[in-house]
Amino acid sequence: MTMDVKNKMIDVRDVYFSYPHHNENEAVHALNGVSLHIEKGEFVGIIGHNGSGKSTLSKLLNAIIFPSQGDVIVSGLNTKDHQNLWTIRQTAGMVFQNPDNQLVATIVEEDVAFGPENLGVPPLEIRERVDRALAVVEMQAYAHQKPHQLSGGQKQRIAIAGILAMEPECIIFDEPTAMLDPSGRREVMETIKRLNRDKAMTVIHITHFMEEIVDADRVIVLDKGKVVMEGQPRTIFKQVKRLKEIGLDVPQMTELAYELRGEGLKIPDDVLSIEEMVNALCQ
């Protein structure tokens, strides 16, 4: 990986963060010295069990909260510098878990317009951006609907369109599929992958579903507020035992490969897909 400053989308430097605790004087340490960087155009998956610090990290990247120690640099701008606040939030957009609690307006297209309206974009340009964003998430047909009449997956796609209309360079997805059914999850994942592939959007995807990040460029594993593993999905998922110890899953095929190797079968330890498993077993 190059350390070229120009290509760096996000740089997190030795960040600590603690939430004030309400009844004891003891603060909850959500992040304990996290350092990582994300390059332009990358698709990075972040996994970790509940309470590992994933959500805290995502909110730091979008300048919703600020590090107690260390620095978060988004596209060359430090989140600590108050002047940068709105530029950072526009540059690194964020999609949240609950589709119901992030849509503001009573009409789909009005909601998509919310971000650019806040940025003071001229009305005609907002119109263009909204139409474009709805086309990217393939929801043009629903422009005049009410959000509460849509399915969970559709609502999340509207939320994505709302971020796209702000023309960010990077989108942080904080468990966007956690509350969806399998078909909703599929449509949202297809949209996210398409953004990264076709629109060269930098994507940071936080999830509990390992299958969603098998084609990521990189996977970062968080545990107890620290980065404990980092690398290509293949090299991460093959460490089945370690992942299970910190309470995470591995994709079914990787687990099967691991089990079969344990029985002495000679197959690679980094199998991720059905195709690879078939090849390994049928050679």
Binding site: H49, N50, S151, G152, A178, M179, Q252, L256, V278, L281
Partner: protein, 284 residues
């Protein structure tokens, strides 16, 4: 307790422009002590169906018999009695918590049943233990200071405390992390085996359902597509896919492997079973 669903139909907002037929002539029998999985995509009628089993919804036509008794021909007070026997855990049940302490909240159901203080106390202890929490450590805490997974379990304990003979759970693992999912499912499984209660589990995860249940009810557009053992249901890949469902990854794998190993079994849906079958076939 056995639950017999007879020609059950339910239409929402009948006669209005919003009319929607959620269930169309469903007839199935859930036998005493069985473990049933219900699967179907959102809007297929799953939630509508389970809300009929304890009389929260009234059918447009048809009925439900619990232990041979028609629940919609009973008096209101008897219907409330019925809800003590047929426990229903809704999706995201932690959203129903309201008391100051965990102990009081779990005791809400038994209190509504009119039990004595001693009995309530005993049931609360038992059910909190059943969901894998430490009674003494948690009883005086506010349910709202617990973690998401703990809140979920306290809410499930609140239904278990009523000691239902039939337990229905609507996606009990939604939104939990992998470990949380596994723990909840293991507890449900052990409840079923130890207490021998009838369990109905609604889930989106074919993997979870396949591992646990005796029979799967596949429902689509308010109609029964399959009501059969996992082995049989999971071999119907094309029908399942046509209604927007997918089988576990290992099932797809076995099907692919069949080209090379024709003797391999296809009715496999867990990693464990796949491992055994592959070893058997490869080692001969």
């Amino acid at each position: 307790m056995s639950v017999e669903i007879k020609n059950l139909s339910h239409t929402y907002s009948e006669g209005s422009p919003f009319e929607f037929r959620a269930l169309k002539d469903i007839s199935i029998t859930i036998e005493n002590g069985s473990f049933i999985g219900i699967i179907g995509h959102t809007g297929s009628g799953k939630s509508t169906l389970i809300q009929h089993l304890n009389g929260l919804l009234t059918p447009t036509s048809g009925t439900v018999l619990v232990d041979g008794k028609d629940i919609f021909e009973t008096k209101k007070s008897e219907l409330i009695q019925l809800r003590h026997h047929v426990g229903l855990v809704f999706q995201y049940p932690e959203h129903q918590l309201f008391e100051e302490t965990v102990q009081k909240d779990v005791g809400f159901g038994p209190k509504n049943q009119g039990l004595s203080e001693d009995e309530i106390d005993q049931r609360v202890r038992q059910s909190i233990k059943m969901v894998g929490l430490d009674f003494d450590a948690i009883k005086d805490k506010s349910p709202f200071e617990l973690s998401g997974g703990q809140m979920r379990r306290v809410a499930i304990a609140g239904v278990l405390a009523m000691e239902p003979s039939v337990l229905i759970l609507d996606e009990p693992t939604a939104g939990l992390d992998p470990r949380g999912r596994e723990e909840i499912l293991a507890q449900i499984k052990s409840l079923h085996t130890q207490k021998q209660i009838t369990v109905v589990l609604v889930s989106h995860s074919m993997e979870d359902i396949g591992k646990m249940v005796d029979k799967i009810l596949v429902i689509n557009e308010g109609e029964v597509v399959f009501f059969d053992t996992p082995n049989r249901v999971f071999t119907e890949i094309s029908t399942l896919e046509s209604i927007g469902l997918a089988v576990p990854q290992v099932t797809y794998l076995m099907r692919r492997l069949k080209e090379k190993y024709p003797e391999i079994r296809e009715d496999i849906f867990t990693v464990e079973a796949a491992k055994k079958e592959i070893l058997k076939v490869i080692r001969g």
